[in-house]
Symmetry: C2
Subunit: 356 residues, 2 copies
Amino acid sequence: MKIYPVIMCGGSGTRLWPVSTSRTPKQFVNLVSDTSLFRQTVARLAPGGDGLDLAAPIIISNARYLDLIDAQLKADNISPLAILLEPCARNTAAVAAVAAEFVGRIDPKGLVLLLPSDHFIGNPGAFRKAIAEAAAIAAAGRIVTFGISPDRPETGFGYIKAGEQIGPSAFAVSSFREKPNHVTALSYLADENYSWNAGIFLFPADLMRAELETHAPDVLRGVKDALDRAQADGTVHHIDETAFSAVRSISIDYAIMEHTSNAAVCGPLSCAWSDVGTWPAVGDLQTSSGQLEPVLIDTENCTIHSEQGVLVAALGVEDLVIAVHDGAVLVMSKARAQDVSLVIEALKARGLTQAL
Amino acid sequence: MKIYPVIMCGGSGTRLWPVSTSRTPKQFVNLVSDTSLFRQTVARLAPGGDGLDLAAPIIISNARYLDLIDAQLKADNISPLAILLEPCARNTAAVAAVAAEFVGRIDPKGLVLLLPSDHFIGNPGAFRKAIAEAAAIAAAGRIVTFGISPDRPETGFGYIKAGEQIGPSAFAVSSFREKPNHVTALSYLADENYSWNAGIFLFPADLMRAELETHAPDVLRGVKDALDRAQADGTVHHIDETAFSAVRSISIDYAIMEHTSNAAVCGPLSCAWSDVGTWPAVGDLQTSSGQLEPVLIDTENCTIHSEQGVLVAALGVEDLVIAVHDGAVLVMSKARAQDVSLVIEALKARGLTQAL
């Protein structure tokens, strides 16, 4: 059964400012190596000799990133099956509906692999093995999620509690848990039934359409309408703005996953996964991104990212993030890595939106 | 009696890297305001309504800074009396000899005010009043130095011990003291007879020639020879390289001041003086240098210098220096401000001399 990778790359986070901006979000930047997370995500899903029946990628993004997407796909000689452009963001239920509806119209029996483009996976082979097992589970009528084994009491992720075992590394989902507080996160860490929700989904297109019909029929109807009115230009589909902007904004978790009786979880994945969500996380992964090696004197445990040709020197400092990009320099205590939004707010308040 | 300001601007320190480099040393950079320390020094010595009989400035520097000097003088419509270019550095005794000999040939009765171009003086009026009193003392046959009242046990400066009072704010020099250790500096701080040596000298040209003849005749002879062979191009004098490079390299303090019986000290100056010697010292003075105001969130006691158009954001940090200039970023603990040379050495070891 064919798997259609649908790669989501329309978001623009701020926690990796000044490198990640709304003009050039994190997924398109060479953050942890000399290629972008988006390009790595696409490369990870190329046809291989391992029996995975993968279609060419479907890219779903915001219209403003078309040039970036085009350029990065061309750099790797990738011909996408389609590029679906949202005129505005309407959360992940709408994205899942677009993916299910678009694939369902091409191949009703097709499987959709819906995944973010801004995560890092250190062991793509292990990831593809997990996809292969998950595909068999999904084909039997499941929406499969992927669990990551927690290595710390992270309060920034959702968690999945595994229930009945349904495959070698697959379980029915007992429940989804939202971002916990610290004490709850500690209890999850101690219980092997809990894993982090990686935000990756694998499902039969028709099953997702049916689940949407049951649990969020308005979202499905709105998305169908927006796709019906889409303007196609070769492989690029401009989703209709009027119809799409009227779609309810709700996450796939709230709209479907917490209601369906067909959720499964595969894992925990041992593929060296990271959401690359904060600067310290970047530092943990950084190999080389073509930057000039910094000069570090009596300096410990710092994450340093600079752009081409910029030299960073640090003397007598520790536990800092130093990030240089496009006329902006951020110097931050690592402990405050979740608070970059405070800088963003200050910039907005000063009208310096060109830096964002 | 005419006072000939001789402004020394040939040095290039490294403690203010990356802003101060050998290409553009500290004195030519807009560090603490929207003009350079060199331009401020020249402006401070312009003819005024206070009776000081000041000649146009004589600039003494290294040949490689001629373009910078020209441009900065032109920006303020200053016509120098002369620009004397050293082909190489031969320390301050040679500089004093050049100044005394050059002025002595024009006006043997003239007074030479020999001073650095890279210091900050917050109260130019008080400075000029001190020069006026010092001129009377110098004219009576003294080499006058200027003392600064210490406000901390600084170990980076030389000290002057005042002896017999010879004017309202003038004293014979009891002794010069080299950079002290911390305990000695504490004892100097407690004794009002000690002041910092500001490195400014006022003397009759002929007296300095006579003192050199007595205490360092080889230096005077070499400098006379180098001036005799100088190539003049309008007001610009290229001091002869062969002759000048043969001059002994020794400081004015060792060569003359510690031996002469005619040393005096005026002061202590209350003119808000700073040698702008380290990044924290820059921070203490900084008003505006045209830079974008940094975004500071939960950030205390940091000195931030960025170039035009560069935005610095700091989050959750304290006691840091953050300096951005021409493709280089320095992040340093303020406590390590004297150790910038370690960064310079590392850059040299890596062959990154274009950054220096």
